[in-house]
Amino acid sequence: MNSKLKVGWFSFSCCEDSTIIFTELLNTHYLEWKKKFEFVHAKVLKKSPDIIPEMDIAFVEGAITSDQQEKKLKKIREKAKIIVAIGACAVIGSPSNQRNFFNREQAEEIKAILEKFKFKEKVLKLSDIVKVDEVVPGCPMNEEVFLRIVNKYLNK
């Protein structure tokens, strides 16, 4: 019998600072989380399946800057009971969305790249695309808010 919470950790466009905070939080929490979580998809911790698995909680950091990313995020939404947006880029889009605010000259410089690699017209935050259940703001994410949310679902 497996009563562990099935957890995923995903990164879109960002600097992955919250992934680092998460791996540093493991320093003091790994014994507890190892017992209570099953990391079913977490590229930072393990080779993860190509197909996104069913999850109790998906932690998602980063902003959405391409159609491929949007498709993957929607897939995560289908498979996860709870989505937690992690860090500023996921929650408000910044600073990964800085190109949204470029002036004409800056926009001109990056235009060819945007077209070549088929970027989205604008960079979006997660809630522009899917329903987000919880948010952990901060750049990097606020550790206390993160732990509060983790504990809320651990003790449910």
Binding site: S11, S13, C14, C15, E16, D17, S18, T19, I20, I21, T23, E24, L26, N27, T28, Y30, K34, F39, K43, V44, L45, K46, K47, S48, D50, T65, S66, Q69, P95, S96, Q98, R99, F102, N103, E105, Q106, E109, I110, I113, F117, F119, C139, P140
Partner: protein, 436 residues
Amino acid sequence: MHDVNDSFDINLEEVSKVEGAASLEIKVRNRKIIDLKFYISEWKRFYTQALQGKPVVAAPQLVARICGTCSNAHLLCSIKTIENAFDIIPSNQTKVLRKLLYYGLIIRDHGLHLYIFSLPDLYGKNSILDFDENDPKEKELLEDTFSVKEVGNQLSIVVGGRSVHAPMPTIGGFLKLPDLSNLKNLLPKLKEIRPKILKLIKIFAEALFRLEAKTKLNFSGLISHDFSFLEGKLENSQGETMLHDELSSYLEEVIIPYSHARGFQLNGNLMMVGALARLNLAKENLNAKTKIAAAKYLGSFPSNNIFHNNLAQAIEMLHAVDASIDLINSLVSITDEKPQKIVPKKSVGVGTIEAPRGTLFHKYEIDEQGTITTAEIIVPTGQNHVLMEKVIFEQTEKLLLENAGKEKIIFEAERLVRAFDPCMSCASHFLKVKWR
């Protein structure tokens, strides 16, 4: 008839246990590689463009957001760039504290790579969290993983206010200085992790993974007398020493059309930067205690074995611990220094440091008001990009001759990529700069 084992496609969308997103595509027909592409698949966030028009004082905290894991490398490189532009010379205390902040980064960042990303490969596990708590040796390594990383994390927090995007270091000094007693309290913890790191060094020294590039490599790095990563001169294994540290004129750019990042070469040669390059070029500059404790393993350098990058990182972790202990012991007080004043002027600032993964370069053109008009950033993973693809090709070719199957080829390619400790978050955000 074609055997399915002789002709197949590999489409690895995201290499696992690396920092950021990298992809690998290999087409094999009749056991011959007909196409192989290794590329950075991170989507650009356009930091060099975003810097244009920003006040230069905003740059350090903005560029820290290029990369979560080595944020403090970008932060300190940016500060150095601006200080160079405005002729600000940091005080000795500031230099010591920056080194301590940096050694904390080396411990936790190399620790992340060696324990979380690479160690599972050596034990045939998928994840460090799969290490068996009922096996005394594996249990010990699991505990080491998190206790060693935590000391690096704490060192960065005590000095910089946070281990990621440290808020306290600033242009000309520190916004808030660390408490001396908090620093002294770290001494027993640093001493405690020393034997654990020695254990890690032994593990990676005994690892049998081996891959040498067929062509001669030019190892390159910023070499400092005390192996402090933050100052020094650019040197390479062809025996050149550069008088200035302007990386953009030292390297030759290589466009990799399918990658979100650009590559580089040096004097027409394949180049490599990072811990292996630093140890190959300057192992005699390591801390005296490190040199004694790791003497037996230092004999492996200079080395052309890419996997020795892991061993080199482990030795650098020991150096970071030993050098930190020396620096903290030497501190008798923290003087209440305010950050030096900035007087903006029209200038071009250049800053080069050794990031955990290799040489990092920032260059800002600044106007009279202190606004950035043009910026350029060159990161380590770009400098290793061409070599990475080349050695994956060579390894895959060899494996095909040995009749290896698809799964084995993927596994070995991922392990090889991991040995470089690439950072894709860093690599993908810069466009070629047109200097006006």
